[in-house]
C-alpha cells in the first residue's frame, strides 16, 4: 500500500499534552511537514528522544520511536543508523537534555558525522522538572535553581557545534514553521550529522521570551550575504551572539563523507539484513592453535 498521498500519515491518535501556546507544537508541525515533503513513509523513519517536555515528541508523530533516557537520544540514534542505514533517523530533545546531561554525545556526534538529524528544542530552561535554568539560560535568568539569577555564561550551541566539526549547523525558531520545515528538509537531506538549534517558546517557565520577544529579534541569515560554506565566517557570526539580533537559517554546511561510508561492512546491505545462520568460526579457532 502506498500512502504517500495521505497527508495525515504522520498523525497520531494521541494528542500532545504540551501547554497551550507551547513552541513544541510548532516544531512538531514543521517536522511533520518536512517528512511529507521528503516523501517518506512512517516505517522509514525512526525518531529517538531524551526526557523533557520536548522529548515526548515521538509519541505524537506516526514513526518508529525510541523515547530513551534524559540526555541519551544520540547514542541510540547512532546505533540505529549503523545497524540499518536505510532508515531516516532523527533525534530530538530539549536543551537540558542535549546541552547539559547529554552534551558530550552532542559534541562527539558533531565530529563523528554519522548521518543523523538532531533537533534541539531550546527553551533555555528545564521545563518538565518545573523550571530550572539550563545551560542556554541567559545570565541572570531567575529560576528555582537560580533564585538570584544564573551566574554562568550561556552556552552557544551553534558556535559549539561548528567548533566541534559539525557539517550542518542551523538555527530555527518554533514560531517560524515554514522556515523550520525547510531546515528540517535540508538537515535530513544532508549527508552527515545535521544539527538544528530551535529557539523554542516555553510559555510556562520562560514567559519573558514569548512569541513577541523572538519575533522582534529573529532574522534569516540567508537574507544577507551569508555563505553557509564559509566555516570561519559562520563561526564568527555564531559567537557574536547578540540577544537583540537572533540569526536563523543555515549557518554552516560542509561536505564530508558520513562516518558510515568509511565502513565497507555496510557497503552491500544494511547490517540488519545480513544473515547470521551457521557462521563458521573454525578458521579463527585454528589461528589460535
Amino acid at each position: 500500500m502506498n500512502n504517500s498521498d495521505d497527508k495525515t500519515r504522520f498523525n497520531t491518535v494521541a494528542r500532545p499534552n504540551w501547554c497551550p501556546g507551547c513552541g513544541n507544537f510548532g516544531i512538531q508541525s514543521a517536522v511533520k511537514k518536512a517528512l511529507l515533503e521528503l516523501d517518506l513513509e512512517p516505517h522509514q523513519v525512526v525518531m529517538t528522544s531524551g526526557i523533557g517536555c520536548s522529548s515526548k515528541i515521538p509519541h505524537w508523530l506516526n514513526v518508529y520511536g525510541l523515547h530513551a533516557l534524559h540526555g541519551r537520544s544520540l547514542p541510540v540514534a547512532a546505533g540505529i543508523k549503523l545497524a540499518n542505514h536505510e532508515l531516516v533517523v532523527i533525534a530530538e530533545g530539549g536543551d537540558g537534555d542535549g546541552f547539559s546531561e547529554g552534551l558530550n554525545h552532542f559534541v562527539q556526534a558533531c565530529r563523528r558525522n554519522i548521518d543523523l538529524t538532531y533537533i534541539v528544542h531550546n527553551n533555555g530552561v528545564f521545563s518538565l522538572t518545573t523550571g530550572q535554568a539550563s545551560a542556554t539560560g541567559e545570565k541572570g535568568f531567575v529560576s528555582s535553581s537560580t533564585p538570584e539569577g544564573a551566574i554562568e555564561t550561556a552556552l552557544n550551541p551553534v558556535a559549539l557545534a561548528i567548533a566541534a566539526g559539525a557539517t550542518f549547523v542551523a538555527r530555527g525558531f518554533s514560531g517560524n514553521i515554514d522556515q523550520l520545515n525547510d531546515l528540517v528538509v535540508a538537515a535530513v537531506r544532508h549527508r552527515g550529522f545535521a544539527f538544528i538549534d530551535v529557539m523554542q517558546i516555553c510559555v510556562t517557565y520562560n514567559p519573558a521570551r514569548g512569541y513577541k520577544w523572538y519575533k522582534e529579534r529573529v532574522y534569516d541569515v540567508q537574507e544577507g550575504s551569508h555563505d553557509p560554506a564559509d566555516r570561519n565566517k559562520a563561526l564568527i557570526s555564531a559567537v557574536e551572539f547578540d540577544e537583540d539580533r537572533l540569526a536563523t537559517g543555515i549557518f554552516y554546511q560542509g561536505d564530508q563523507n558520513p562516518y558510515e561510508e568509511s565502513l565497507p561492512q555496510l557497503g552491500t546491505d544494511p547490517l540488519v539484513n545480513q544473515d547470521i545462520e551457521g557462521i563458521d568460526v573454525r578458521s579463527l579457532m585454528a589461528e589460535l592453535v
Binding site: 516505517h43 547490517l271 592453535v289
Partner: protein, 591 residues
Amino acid sequence: MKGTNELSFVVGGFAGQGVNTVGYALARICSRAGLHVFINLEYPSNIKGEHNYAQVMVSEKPIGSHVNSVDLLLALDARSVVLHKDKIKPGGALIYDREGVEVSPVDAGLKVGDIERSDIIVIDMPMAQIAKDAGGSKKMVNSVGLGAVMGSLRFDFELLADMLRQSLEKLDDKVVAANLEGARQAYDIAREKYAEQVGIVLEKCDGPDRMLVTGNQAVALGAIKAGVRFYSAYPMSPSTGVMVYLTKQARDRGIVTIQPEDEISAAGMSIGASFAGVRAMTGTSGGGFCLMSEYFGLAGITEIPLVIFVAQRPGPATGLPTRTEQGDLKFVLSAHQGDFARIVVAPGDVSEAFYLTFDAFNLADKYQTPVILLSDKHLAEATWTQEPLETANMKIDRGDLLRTEELAGMSDYKRYQVTDSGISPRALPGAPGGVFKATGNEHTESGLVSEDADNRASQMDKRQRKTSTLDVSDIGARLHGNPEAKITLVGWGSTKPVILDVITQLKEAHKIDCSFLQVIYMEPFPVDHVSRVLNKAGRTLLIENNATGQLGQLIRQQTGILIKDQILKYNGRQFMRDELADLIGQRLREA
C-alpha cells in the same frame, strides 16, 4: 631426574621487556608439542618500568591453575630475581644474567649480584653478551632467554627455532638469523652445563590440536558465532581484549565495532543497534558498568535484547585495574532502579565462555531483555590450552521476531502486548505496519507513555514473567566430582579451573574426596538445584575471590542456606592450587 612434562615456569621482568611474549612463546611451543598449558599473567597498570611476570604451567594432563612454587625462573631484570627467587623450589633453577641483568628505571640502583640460595641451581647466563655477540639488540635477550630455558629442559631446539621463525616472520632475515643464533648459544650452554642438574625434561607427546586461548578470545569467538553485528565499547581493562579482537575481525566478518566517547554512549549505541534489529553487544568492567547502569534498565523496560560483557577487576573505583576479583556479582544483579527481568551468567572457563556467550545472544533475543556475561580479569586474560570446541549443534534463536509478511497481516500491532509468557512479538523499524514506540517511561501495550495504575502493574508483571519461563534447573549450576563426596566446595566463575585442580590434588595427595558445586546462572537462580545439593552435602566450603562472599550472600538470599565456612581471597590475585589446597586442608583440620 625430577620429572618429565611437569613444569612451573616463571619469567619476570619490567613492563616493556616483553615478559608476556616470552611466556607465551614457551606456552605455544609446549602446546604444539602436545602438552597442556596454563599461563597466568601478573602485570601492573603501567606501560613501562614496573614489575610483571608470566607463569607458565605445563603438564601432560589437563591443567587449569598455577602454584606458588616455581621450578624454573627466568629473570629478565634485577627486580625479578629479588621478588621471585624465594619461590623457587629446592632443587629448582634460576636463569639470570649476573653481569648484564637489566634494571628497570624505577628500580634505579637496585643490585642483585650473587644469589644466596645454595639449594637451587643458579644458571648465570650472559644473555646480554650473547645477544650482543650474535649482533642483536636488547630485545633479542628474550630469544636468548628462551634458548636457555629450552636447553635447561632438554626440549627439542627445533621447536623453538620454528616458533622464532614464525613470530619474527615480518622482520629482516638477518634479524631472524641473529635471534636463532643467540637462542642456540644459550640453549647449548644450558643443555650442556645445567640440564642434568635441573633434572626436568620436556618432551613432545601426542594429542589433538589445542588452541591457546584466553577467556576474552573465547567470548569474542562466541559472539562471532552468534552473529554479533555490532560491538560498541570504551576501553577498560580487562574487557578491552574482546573489543580489540572483534575490531580486528570487523571488516572480514561484517561487524561494526565502535569506540565512542564513553561507556554511556557505548551502551546506548548497542541498544540502538539492537532495537534496529542486529545482534549487539557492549563490554566493560565495573567502573564502566556504573555508567552503563542507567541504559541497562532502559533495555529492560523497552525490552530490547542486549548482551553486556562485564569483566570484573578489583574495586572499588579504579582499584587494581589489571588484577583480578569477583567483586561485582551483587552489583550486576541489582544495578538500576526498580525491578526487571535480567539474566546473569558467569562462565567458569574458556569453553563455557565460548558457549555461554553464544547462549547469551539467544537468551537476550528470546527473553527480549539484557543479559550480563560476567567474567573477571583472570578468566579474561589468562590462557589455557583448549580442545577443539564443537560448533555443529549451535543454533541461532532470534526469539519472537516478526517478519514483514507477518506484520502486514496484523491490524493493530502492539509491541508490548500482554501475553502469558510475558514475551511479545517484536517488530523492527523499517517494517511497514509495525510502527511503535519503545519508551523508557512506563507505557501501554502500544508503547505510549502511561501513568495508569493498572497498566503499570500489568506491564510490570508481564516483564517479570518473561524469565520465569527460563528453566535453569539443569544448566544453572553444575556439581563436579563425586556427588557422594563428604565435602562440597562451592564457587563460581574463574575459580573453576583451580578448584577442579585442587580436587584432583586433594584426592591424589591426601585421599580427601571433594565435590564442587559451580553456580553458573546467577539470575534466574537455580534455587532447587543448589538447595538440593547443599541440603544433602556434608561439609560445605565457600570459595570466592572477593572480600564478602557475594555468592554466599546470594545463596542465602535465594535458598536460606548459610555457608559459614568461607575461604575468601581479595588481594587482587587468583588462588593458586597449592595455596587453596592448604587453605582447605587447614579448614578441615580446624573444625
